[in-house]
């Protein structure tokens, strides 16, 4: 059979079967968290009581599969710590996802809105907004997501600008996202920053981890699985690694078969010539 003429829809069918079967069977592989994920986990664990962490949820339902599990695991960890949390969003459709994560992973730890955390919601502007936060968070976000003036919110007492924040965790699906935070915040004020991001964008940011500009980096569903394992709350990420691994094996097989087919056809063409 000529592989080059194979209808690509057969490949889709094979891929779907290879992903659905391990998903249904709930095949779970042991997760060994990467050094990068461990660095983020350890840095957050090392934050002293009363520290301030800013979590920017810069994603939307299109990247929910990768970033929502990270967000859940992160909120589980923060829920167990005595730190203040400020939540912002640079993407308008992140709001409902963040609220869902708060309800499922943060509030069950007995945390109170306004006392332990504040959700400042979405604001447009991207890098201009981040730059404004270096000067005054309160002016960039005059109200929280519920319309409460920020000057009346207890958790924000004593916090004027990004300089008063001890750790930045950016969950980023693209632009605006981690690049803008690195550009306008980390490189300007030098505070510790880490990021969870989609797998597509991860290779573009490893250099910032090597240079120390990022404490660590969680890339895609694998990053989410790593963090779930570290937090001790295996969920969508860990359970997704079974089908993910089988999918990767299938792609490798496709590439090998495709290259063998290519070499055979090239040899045949040479013989014919």
């Amino acid at each position: 059979m000529n592989l080059a003429k194979l209808d690509r829809r057969w490949l889709y069918v094979v891929m779907a079967v290879v992903l659905v079967v391990p998903f249904m069977a709930r095949i779970v592989f042991p997760i060994v968290p990467s050094d990068s994920a461990r660095k983020i986990y350890d840095a957050i664990e090392a934050l002293p009581d009363g520290s301030v962490i800013l979590v920017s949820a810069d994603y939307d339902p299109g990247s929910e599969a990768e970033l929502y599990p990270m967000n859940l695991a992160l909120f589980h960890q923060l829920g167990q710590k005595n730190v203040k949390m400020i939540i912002t969003q640079l993407w308008p459709q992140a709001g409902p996802l963040v609220k869902d994560c708060l309800d499922k992973a943060y509030l069950p730890h007995g945390k109170k809105e306004g006392v332990d955390f504040v959700n400042l919601g979405y604001k447009p502007g991207g890098l201009i907004l981040i730059s404004k936060c270096n000067e005054s968070i309160l002016k960039a976000f005059p109200e929280d997501v519920n319309g409460t003036p920020v000057k009346d919110i207890p958790v924000l007492k004593g916090i004027e600008s990004s300089n008063d924040i001890d750790f930045f965790m950016i969950l980023s699906a693209g632009t605006p996202g981690i690049r803008e935070w690195l550009e306008q915040c980390q490189s300007q004020i030098g505070k510790p920053m880490a990021s969870g991001m989609t797998a597509v964008s991860a290779p573009d940011f490893f250099q910032y981890e090597n240079s120390g500009q990022l404490i660590g980096l969680l890339g895609g569903l694998r990053g989410a699985a790593d963090y779930e394992a570290l937090v001790g709350k295996p969920g969508r990420g860990v359970l997704g690694m079974g089908p993910q691994s089988f999918g990767h094996l299938l792609i490798i097989l496709f590439i090998v078969i495709g290259n063998i087919g290519y070499l055979i056809s090239r040899q045949k063409a040479r013989r014919a010539a």
Partner: protein
């Protein structure tokens, strides 16, 4: 059946049917896929406009100006800056001039302001982020006396060599022959390794998205009506 109210059932069904409608594209382009695509774009645009209005326009512009004009309480030193909000308000309003053929040119003022502001901020930000801190990170310590041979051989040396040979590949002022040619060709290997990493991560991302939809279809939709596919707790 899970304890959902009627509109949550409707939402669940709509999300499921839309997911399946998008998947029909894998067979071939068809009207069901087109309908789902258009609904998605329309809903996303409508949601964003409404959300922008209530999360940015009202708290950052309307309420401060309302307070100013109705004689409400404004902190000392903020009165001037509240008056200054009229400038972005005017520039924002000028965007709507695009709808009028005769006065459409007025929107160029707003666009020029935005382009200038973003270019200015980007210039300083990128300069420090990529032109200063990134090259500084290639000044690695190659002295084996510090006792970390694996660090030097596996991480530091490849970073230094990789930067040098890749920069040589993009150096076009001399023909790529002799020593420069060998160096530039070595740069291609580093570039190919980077492209391979990008491709691998992209494959992972696409598979993850499909797994995300499987989790929704089975754990949220199917489990609501059958209880056969409980999600992780």
């Amino acid at each position: 059946m899970a304890d959902l109210v009627w509109y949550q059932h409707v939402g669940l069904w709509v999300a499921t049917l839309m997911t399946l409608a998008i998947f029909t594209f894998l067979y071939k382009d068809n009207p069901i896929y087109k309908m789902a695509e258009h609904v998605f774009v329309g809903v996303a645009a409508g949601y964003t406009v409404a959300y922008l209005f209530w999360s940015a326009f009202v708290p950052n512009l309307y309420r401060p100006l309302e307070t100013l004009f109705t004689g409400g309480e404004i902190e000392q030193g903020e009165v001037f800056w509240t008056w200054m909000l009229l400038i972005p308000a005017l520039l924002g309003a000028l965007f709507f001039a695009r709808f009028h053929p005769k006065y459409g040119w007025l929107s160029r003022w707003s666009i020029a302001f935005m382009v200038g502001a973003y270019a200015g901020l980007n210039l300083t930000g990128k300069f420090r982020l990529d032109l200063m801190l990134q090259p500084a990170a290639t000044f690695v310590n190659l002295n084996p006396a510090n006792g970390h041979w694996n660090q030097v051989l596996i991480y530091d040396l490849p970073i230094l060599l990789g930067v040098l040979v890749c920069l040589t590949y993009f150096f076009f002022s001399k023909p790529h022959t002799g020593f420069i040619g060998v160096t530039a060709r070595t740069g291609i290997f580093f570039l190919m390794a980077a492209f391979g990493a990008s491709f691998g991560y992209t494959v992972m991302a696409r598979i993850s998205l499909f797994i995300g939809r499987l989790q929704f279809l089975f754990w949220e939709f199917a489990n609501t009506y059958t209880q056969w596919f409980p999600p992780p707790t």
